[in-house]
């Protein structure tokens, strides 16, 4: 890498305490330091309730940390949000029932003040990207869960945000659809070159998708280990079925074992072993 490139995300000494001082105080995050480089795909994994969603919301400026700072492409998280740097997707697709598929994708563009022809052109483009061209005029309730989630991803990407924040977006899907969606996401990611932070509690999902997996420990949520993922050479195909070949590789099993070991040691309370916390090697 040449010279100093501003990282995509710098989380520096972040604490997040809910209901501080009261009886039901929850320390959700403690001393979080993470750096995510541009174009990186980073997963956050950890037991339920360990603060993954909280961390994503802090990065997305939906929650103000009680200590520390978050910078996104060199600016404060709040400016990044005002500048519409974030695309977000949640476990619930969160489509707006009263808007047809195309209108859902156009919503962020509408808020961003795009002209109608530009919006329409972009939503067509996005529908093509997620392979739902024929469903522009359907209402959300007419789509399956997987299709709704693809619309949500199209919507999150429609305004070409610098950073995609995803909170267990495939958590509610059945296993088959889930693997298909993972391949689709990877295809879209490699076509667009966005930076992604992805919350999951599925080890294979994290390994399949990510360049790095950040393992969080519960209460207070701390970075327990960071596992660099290397699955060997990428599959040179835009065909999702062929991309699935990766799941059969020896390296895939090695990496899942490594992440599983890190998660096990979280539960056992021993320090993690893989990598040094939060430091990118970029």
């Amino acid at each position: 890498m040449m010279g100093e490139v501003t990282p995509a995300v710098t989380v520096d000494g972040v604490d997040m305490v809910f209901n501080a001082g009261s009886e039901n105080e929850v320390v959700a995050l403690r001393e979080i330091d993470v750096t995510v480089q541009r174009g990186e795909f980073v997963s956050l994994i950890g037991p339920s309730g360990c603060g993954k969603s909280t961390m994503l919301r802090v990065i997305g400026d939906l929650l103000q940390p009680t200590a520390g700072s978050v910078e996104v492409f060199g600016q404060a998280a709040s400016s990044a949000r005002q500048n519409r740097s974030y695309g977000m997707a949640f476990q619930s697709a969160g489509l707006f029932d009263w808007r047809k598929v195309a209108a859902n994708i156009e919503l962020p563009l509408e808020i961003g003040g795009w002209s109608k022809p530009d919006r329409e052109a972009r939503s067509r483009e996005m529908l093509k990207l997620v392979r739902l061209e024929d469903f522009a005029d359907h209402y959300p309730w007419q789509l399956s869960g997987g299709m709704q989630q693809r619309v949500a991803i199209a919507r999150a990407l429609s305004f070409q945000p610098d950073l995609l924040l995803m909170d267990e977006p495939f958590g509610a899907l059945d296993e088959m659809t889930r693997e298909y969606m993972q391949s689709e996401l990877l295809r879209i990611y490699s076509e667009l070159g966005t930076t992604v932070i992805f919350v999951t509690h599925s080890i294979p999902e994290a390994v399949y998708l990510s360049n790095r997996v950040v393992v969080l420990s519960p209460r207070p949520g701390r970075i327990h280990a960071v596992v660099d993922i290397d699955l060997g050479p990428p599959v040179e195909s835009t065909d999702s079925a062929k991309a699935d070949e990766i799941r059969e590789r020896e390296s895939f099993f090695e990496m899942t074992t490594q992440v599983r070991a890190a998660l096990r040691s979280v539960e056992a309370g021993t320090p993690g072993r893989a990598g040094s916390p939060g430091v990118a090697d970029g």
């Binding site: 919301r57 997305g60 939906l62 949000r81 005002q82 500048n83 519409r84 974030y86 695309g87 977000m88 949640f90 619930s92 969160g94 707006f96 029932d97 009263w98 808007r99 919503l107 962020p108 509408e110 808020i111 961003g112 209402y139 959300p140 309730w141 924040l165």
Partner: protein, 255 residues
Amino acid sequence: MGERMNGLIPPVVFGVAFLAVWELAVVGFGIQEFLLPKPSSILEAIGADWSVLSEAAIQTGIIAVSGLVIGVVIGALLALLVTRFGRIGEAATPLAVALNATPIVALAPIFNAWFGITSFRSNQAVVVAVVFFPVFINTARGLLEVHPDQLELMRSYAAGEWSILRRVKIPNALPFFLTSLRLAAPLSVIAAIVAEYFGGPQNRLGPVITQNASVARYDSAWAAIVMASILGLVLFWLAAALERLVPWTQTGGEG
């Protein structure tokens, strides 16, 4: 269209059978007409009193519909206001609950004192007060019960309060609002007639029922009751049709 006609057949068959049993029961058991007139006698009375009844139904209908519109507008606007400014909501909610626990028609004599015993305004005020509450509560729920993820999405787009209200909260509340309208529409007729029992102009369904009953013209009283239920049904149907127009729900859109 054909399916819709098919859907009408069971209630029509049931209705005709019900009237036939009623007619036969009155004749067969020798029930006195002042206790329960035959449907055919009621029909006759409707024909004989048609000019009085139709005028009364129209006048009562005007009170019910105008009161309904005013009550719905006030209920919806107040819901917007209260949900927009949380403080007001907290302060106003106990009051609204107390108001709901009050049988509003009990206020009819008070409204007569306020608006004048011969004024239609006092009847209209009862309708407004009765209709207001379900609309207010349901609309407020629809405005508040937006999925938290959707609000976070809007914030991530840096959308302003007004934009969130217009693009998310109001469309989210629309089905709730329309449901409350379907509840409120027949209520408006009930409220109008009960209010008319207590006062207001005399050429209305309420007074027509009480006057005929007091001189033992029960077939005519029943004729007015039938007109009242037709009025309630028509308003209910209109509101239900409006509800089915919403194209984005599984039940709506195709009706």
